[in-house]
């Protein structure tokens, strides 16, 4: 079992350095929820199908990330507050390659 370190800046601007497991089939959105870094009901609304943008985050570190799927591209094209480094947390699978990842949660859509 190996954990990796991830730095997540929440919507209030507070940065949390947390341990994320690589052996539990988790994605970044689920990690955020497990640590309750965003209120329940404001993140992961569609459950992780890339069908809402509630888990959008900005990737601050220079990690090589997996390519976006068509679904993720399409969803980000409809999302708000999108930047060049935007990704959907639910599409980022926690692997050892992501050790040291730094992300910031995008603002909640109101």
């Amino acid at each position: 079992m190996t954990d990796i370190k991830i730095k997540i800046t929440d919507r209030e601007g507070v940065t949390h350095e947390i341990d994320a497991p690589t052996d539990m089939n988790m994605n970044l959105m689920e990690v955020v929820r497990s640590y309750e870094l965003a209120p329940e009901g404001t993140i992961g609304i569609c459950g992780g199908m890339a069908m809402c943008a509630s888990c959008q985050c900005y990737v601050k570190s220079a990690h090589a990330l997996p390519e976006k799927s068509d679904d993720e591209e399409a969803m980000l094209a409809e999302a708000f507050n999108v930047e060049d480094n935007s990704r959907l947390g639910c599409q980022l699978h926690i692997t050892e390659d992501l050790n040291g990842l730094e992300v910031e949660l995008a603002p909640e859509e109101v």
């Binding site: 209120p39 329940e40 009901g41 404001t42 609304i45 569609c46 199908m49 069908m51 809402c52 509630s54 068509d70 591209e73 399409a74 094209a77 409809e78 708000f80 507050n81 999108v82 859509e109």
Partner: protein, 353 residues
């Protein structure tokens, strides 16, 4: 005024199954939903996605599950108020509730079951600072009556099915249709994408991609939209329009239910999970994804269970003096309010000579 026994707010899978369990107890149900069709998220967000954890179904598409539930509850003749959002609730002296929608439809029932999922689906509004000033003055998020766009200059934004379908439809109605999307690719039915391509080639749809609308201008009414092409911040396009229709899909909001005096925790309604999923207001229950209790899981199958126990408790509230013994459908069959009767075929009892 619509009168019923159990008024269900939310016509997703949990709300629909509650109709069946109530029907077995001879209780009538009426459902309110903000969406124009039943099924909740299953119909609106992921109708074509397979679900693998519905007991007895190794896999079933979300849309099929809704179709099956509608078929299953048909004998119990549920009423529907669709396309309206439950807005206010009042408790009368006789203990019954009156629920009024945003369109003024009034419902009365002794029991209210909130099966609202993540809330009512509201259009996602683009983040343009003055957009609210132009709502109903040129800006609309939903097309109610396409005729109001006749001979108008219309700009549509979005990249999904509704943006494509309405661009196609309005190409024949409006004097000018411009479709703006942040990418060159559209996510929609292949037919619609090809149709928009044809209409673009024929000069009937003005397609601007990849681009987005960055500002709205006008006095009182919308007069212009400012469009920025991706990667080109210097050359903004100022387009004179009568109407701007952003179609960015829907997102759920707990909405007015949050102000009904119910205990809310983590954007969900607290209920008593040791008994019957009743809220802090006796007679109001919350079932399915909208509720929370220790160990809550937002699963359809959990919603079905919660709906079943809720109906038993509702029965006891409506008929406090009646003693009820649960009957299996294999024993009692299903007797619909429409006179239909489903029951197990009788076994033949006959001697073998």
């Amino acid at each position: 005024m619509i009168k019923t026994d159990i008024l269900i707010i939310g016509a997703g899978p949990t709300g629909l199954f509650a109709v069946f369990e109530a029907g077995l107890l001879k209780l009538k149900c009426h459902l309110i939903d903000a969406l124009p069709q039943p099924g909740g998220q299953c119909s609106e967000i992921y109708p074509k996605k397979p679900i693998y954890d519905i007991p007895g179904f190794p896999d079933i598409l979300a849309g099929e599950l809704v179709d099956n539930l509608m078929e299953q509850i048909k004998p119990f003749q549920p009423g529907f108020t669709l396309g309206e959002r439950a807005e206010t609730i009042d408790k009368l002296e006789d203990g019954t509730f009156v629920v009024t929608t945003n369109k003024g439809t009034v419902h009365s029932a002794p029991i209210v079951a909130i099966a609202g999922g993540l809330g009512s689906f509201e259009p996602r509004k683009p983040l343009l600072e003055n957009i609210s000033e132009f709502e109903d003055k040129g800006v609309a998020y939903i097309i109610k009556d396409p005729e109001i766009y006749r001979d108008k200059k219309v700009v549509i934004a979005g990249g999904g099915d509704s943006a494509l379908d309405w661009s196609i439809f309005l190409a024949e109605v409006a004097s000018e249709v411009t479709l703006v999307h942040r990418r060159n690719e559209f996510r929609g039915a292949l037919d619609s994408v090809e149709k928009v391509q044809d209409l673009k080639n024929a000069g009937k749809i003005n397609l601007i991609t990849p681009a987005e609308i960055v500002a709205l201008k006008g006095n009182e009414r919308l007069e212009k939209v400012v469009i920025q092409r991706a990667g080109d911040n210097d050359n903004e396009i100022s387009l004179a329009v009568d109407n701007f229709i952003p179609l960015f899909g829907l997102s759920p909001k707990l909405g007015p239910i949050a102000d009904w005096g119910l205990q809310i925790e983590k954007n969900a309604i607290k209920v008593d999970n040791t008994l019957d999923y009743q809220t802090n207001i006796p007679g109001i229950y919350a079932i399915g994804d909208v509720n929370t209790y220790p160990g809550k899981l937002k699963l359809i199958l959990c919603g079905f269970h919660e709906a079943t126990l809720m109906c038993q408790s509702a029965y006891q509230r409506i008929f406090p003096d009646k003693k009820y013994v649960m009957k299996y459908t294999t024993v009692g069959g299903v007797t619909g309010f429409d006179g239909s009767k489903k029951e197990a075929p009788k076994a033949v009892v006959k001697a073998i000579e």
